[in-house]
Structure formats: structure tokens, C-alpha cells
């Protein structure tokens, strides 16, 4: 969060740079089965974000030291392609991708019934092809659809979305300019059927009222995204 910038991200009528109102979500589209060799896969386009998630397993966990006797482990790898942003990203793991891989695994572990597959591993690969803003949210959501597509038993799916504050106005589903020049963002992972929260991070400062507003926006956005997830899993345009 770089504080106030020179860019005016939202006008006096509440219309944002990309023409959305402050409670509107970017266009979302999900398709499944995009990686035929994987056990389950999904591709999600969310605004300009383009994410592919592939799931392999459950399979024997190697090396053995990562095995857990009472449950499966989720081996999540989040990666941004070098060409996914205007500045080339150095290939390979870095601190940011490690952090996102970890929080993604923890969010997904709360819904996957890992106890059904002790000592095994479920490998989740998340590849960011094109990044705008909110790639961790898109990654978690796409991974959730890919897990469901792979037939992994889950008590619910995780929908992740971020709201934030731009020029003291709380807006839903930040785009690139809002992410860069805004003052705060609040990514959340929500279980759409129960409304439970499985993941929350906050970057920047929000007052209690602003926090509540961002929370409400995320909850509403969850319904839109979940509907698209279900549509994709039920076989597309029905």
C-alpha cells in the first residue's frame, strides 16, 4: 500500500476507473478440466487475472517425513509466471509465493476431509498466467474448484475475495490501480454455504466501520463468485 497516489481511483459518483460501482465484482469466469492429465483442474479469469489450478492425488506422500499418520497433507504451490506482470518476475519460489502457498494450504485444509487419506498427499499447483490484483484470492478460489473437480471430499468450497480502501472509500474487489494506490485491503476466505471464515489477512489500516463495510462487501461478493463456481462444476452453461 503506497498511501495516497496521484491517480484518482474513484470519482464523486462512486464510479471506479474500470466503470464499476464500489460494491461490484470484476467479471468472473471459471472452467474445469483444462489440464487433462491432472486429476482435477480449473481455470479462472477474474478481471484481468488468469489463473490455472491443477490437483494431483491423493497419492503417497514423499518424502516420508512429511507424512501425517492421521491425515493427508496438502502440498500447495503458488507460482506467478515470469510473464504474468509488466515487470518480469524472476522464476522460482520467493518469500511472497511461499507465504501465499502456506495460507492457501491452511485455508483449503479447513474444508478438505484429509482424515480420509492418512499418510498421503494431495498436490495443488496454482499458476498465475496473468496478474492484475487479488491473485491470492483467485488462486484459492480456483484451487477450491480444482479440488472439487478432482473428487476430493470437501465439507464446502472456499471462496476468496478482497475488499479495500481507496481514498477513504471502501470498495469491493480491488483492481490493479486500487491495489497499488489504495490505503488498505482485506482478503478473506469464506465458506459460502455456512458463511464461516477460514482465511483473513489485512494490509493497511481500516476503522471498525470500514472493516465492517469491507466484510459485508466480501460476503456479498462471495455469493456471486460461488454461483460461478457451481455453474462451472455442474458443466458450464446449463
Amino acid at each position: 500500500m503506497g498511501g495516497y497516489g496521484d491517480i484518482q481511483c474513484i470519482d464523486e459518483n462512486g464510479i471506479r476507473l474500470d466503470g464499476r460501482t464500489k460494491d461490484e465484482v470484476r467479471p468472473v469466469h471459471i472452467e474445469t478440466g483444462v489440464v487433462p492429465v491432472a486429476d482435477g483442474s480449473a481455470r479462472m479469469t477474474w478481471g484481468l487475472n488468469d489463473v490455472i489450478a491443477a490437483v494431483y492425488g491423493p497419492m503417497e506422500a514423499h518424502p516420508r517425513k512429511i507424512q501425517r499418520q492421521d491425515r493427508a497433507v496438502l502440498d500447495v504451490r503458488y507460482n506467478m509466471a515470469p510473464f504474468s506482470t509488466t515487470d518480469r518476475i524472476r522464476p522460482g519460489f520467493n518469500r511472497r509465493s511461499r507465504e501465499i502457498s502456506k495460507v492457501t494450504a491452511e485455508a483449503l485444509e479447513s474444508v478438505v476431509l484429509t482424515e480420509l487419506y492418512p499418510r498421503s498427499k494431495i498436490r495443488v499447483e496454482i499458476e498465475i498466467i496473468c496478474a492484475e490484483a487479488g491473485t491470492r484470492c483467485a488462486g484459492i478460489t480456483a484451487a477450491s474448484v480444482a479440488l472439487a473437480h478432482a473428487g476430493i471430499p470437501m465439507s464446502d468450497m472456499v471462496v476468496s475475495v478482497a475488499s479495500g480502501k481507496v481514498h477513504d472509500i471502501v470498495v469491493c474487489d480491488l483492481n490493479k490501480e486500487e491495489d497499488n494506490y489504495g490505503e488498505a485491503d482485506l482478503p478473506m476466505g469464506i465458506l459460502p454455504n455456512s458463511g464461516e471464515l477460514v482465511f483473513l489477512q489485512m494490509d493497511g489500516d481500516l476503522s471498525p466501520d470500514q472493516f465492517q463495510e469491507a466484510w459485508d462487501y466480501n460476503m456479498e461478493a462471495t455469493k456471486v463468485i460461488h454461483a460461478e463456481m457451481v455453474r462451472a462444476l455442474r458443466g458450464g452453461d446449463e
Partner: protein
């Protein structure tokens, strides 16, 4: 597949008297994980369904069915979970001096002890008999409580696979491949003049002339595509 579904991480409900699906008219045919299937009215939660607080919830993506008072999900995809006496096709993944480790497509590798191997092997020299990467046709002899399984190659027709092609299909589609009374599989063998062995773990060994193998693979793919289209339409 002897008319049973392959994957079964079990009946996941511990609450048999809890809620169940709403009337079948309102119930969605295709469901996604987390979908609420409604109250029970005395129905049981079957495969892929969890009973929580008097409600039924889908755990998998698939088609909901209600048979004899048990609500279950027929998943579109599923992992193979071994059962004793299953005929499976595996790959040698590793070995010690007297044990092979076999990838049978399950969440857990199986072991093949030297004593259950295809032929007499010397202690420390088992790689001369079966090496890493080899495919084998074997049978599940035992599944332990911790999900470890033991396979055997002692039995009629069990062998190392040295020719042909091994194809993977989703285990729950095996029934469709084999057909009622084995009709579809028999027809496939006759038409392609190939030996076709369908393992319970969803691996299919096709052996014969190259043209026959190609033909069999094409038919297999066509059958699977058709199955998927029907499933998405919801009339499978």
C-alpha cells in the same frame, strides 16, 4: 466392475437419523461440495454425503441419488481405494532387498514381497526380476487397517506387462467400459482383436497389433467422452 462403485471413502455419516434431502423434485441433480441437500425425514447419508445438525450436505461434485432411503452422491471423479481381491495394474516405484513398492493408483503405495513375486528372486537381486518402471498385473491380497496394501503375483494370469499399452480411466467409469455382463468389453475385444484387461484401479491393459491397440484406444476415449457428456447433461 461387478456392479459396484470403486471409490468409497466410506459412508461418511455418523448420524443415521439426521436430516436428508428435500423432496426429490426440488433437489439438484448435479451437486457441488457443500451444497445443502435438505432435511432427512429418516433417510440415511450414503457415499459422499455428510449429516450435520439434521441436514445433509454434499461432500463431492456429482449426481445425487436416493436409493432405498439412502442419499448418496455418484461422483464424477474419484480416487481408487483398494480392496482385497481387486485385480489391479501397477507400476514398480521402488524396491528394497526383498520388497517392491507398487504404485496402484491409490492414495497409498502397495508392497509386493519377494515371496509373492512372479518368479524366484534372490535376496538383494530382485531388480533382475522386476525393475523400477515395470508394469505388472497383480491382485490385492490384503488391505491393512492403516490403508497399507499387499499385492500378489501368484495366481492365474498375473504377470509382468511387457507389451501393449496401459490406459488410465476414472475407476467409477469401469462399469460403463465393461458393460452389463461384460458385453461392452467383450465387444471391444472382438472388434479390435486385442487382449484387453481392465484393472479395478482404472488402468486398462491393451495388447495386440498396433492398429488394434490404436483402435481400442480410440474406442476407449470415445466411450469416456460420451460418458462425460452424459454426466454433465445429468442423464447418465
Amino acid at each position: 466392475m461387478k456392479g459396484r462403485s470403486v471409490a468409497r471413502p466410506d459412508n461418511m455419516s455418523g448420524d443415521k437419523g439426521a436430516g436428508g434431502p428435500r423432496g426429490s423434485r426440488q433437489a439438484p441433480l448435479l451437486v457441488a461440495p457443500g451444497d445443502d441437500l435438505g432435511d432427512s425425514g429418516g433417510l440415511e447419508a450414503g457415499h459422499g454425503v455428510l449429516a450435520i445438525n439434521g441436514r445433509l450436505r454434499a461432500l463431492k461434485q456429482g449426481r445425487m441419488s436416493n436409493r432405498d432411503g439412502t442419499v448418496s452422491i455418484e461422483p464424477r471423479r474419484t480416487a481408487y481405494v483398494p480392496r482385497p481381491s481387486d485385480l489391479v495394474i501397477g507400476y514398480i516405484e521402488g524396491c528394497t532387498s526383498n520388497i517392491w513398492f507398487i504404485d496402484i493408483g491409490a492414495p497409498f503405495n502397495a508392497i509386493l514381497p519377494m515371496s509373492l513375486g512372479p518368479s524366484k528372486a534372490e535376496f538383494g537381486g530382485i531388480r533382475k526380476v522386476l525393475d523400477i518402471g515395470d508394469a505388472i498385473l497383480c491382485r490385492v491380497q490384503e488391505v491393512e487397517e492403516n490403508h497399507s496394501s499387499v499385492v500378489t503375483m501368484k495366481g492365474m494370469g498375473l504377470r509382468a506387462i511387457r507389451a501393449g499399452s496401459v490406459e488410465d480411466i476414472d475407476p467409477h467409469l469401469l462399469g460403463r467400459l465393461i458393460g452389463r455382463g461384460g458385453n461392452n468389453l467383450r465387444q471391444l475385444k472382438e472388434d479390435t482383436e486385442c487382449r484387453v484387461v481392465a484393472g479395478d484401479n482404472g488402468r486398462v491393459w491393451i495388447d495386440g497389433d498396433l492398429s488394434g491397440i490404436v483402435d481400442a484406444r480410440d474406442r476407449l476415449n470415445a466411450l469416456l467422452t460420451e460418458a462425460k457428456v452424459e454426466e454433465y447433461r445429468g442423464d447418465a
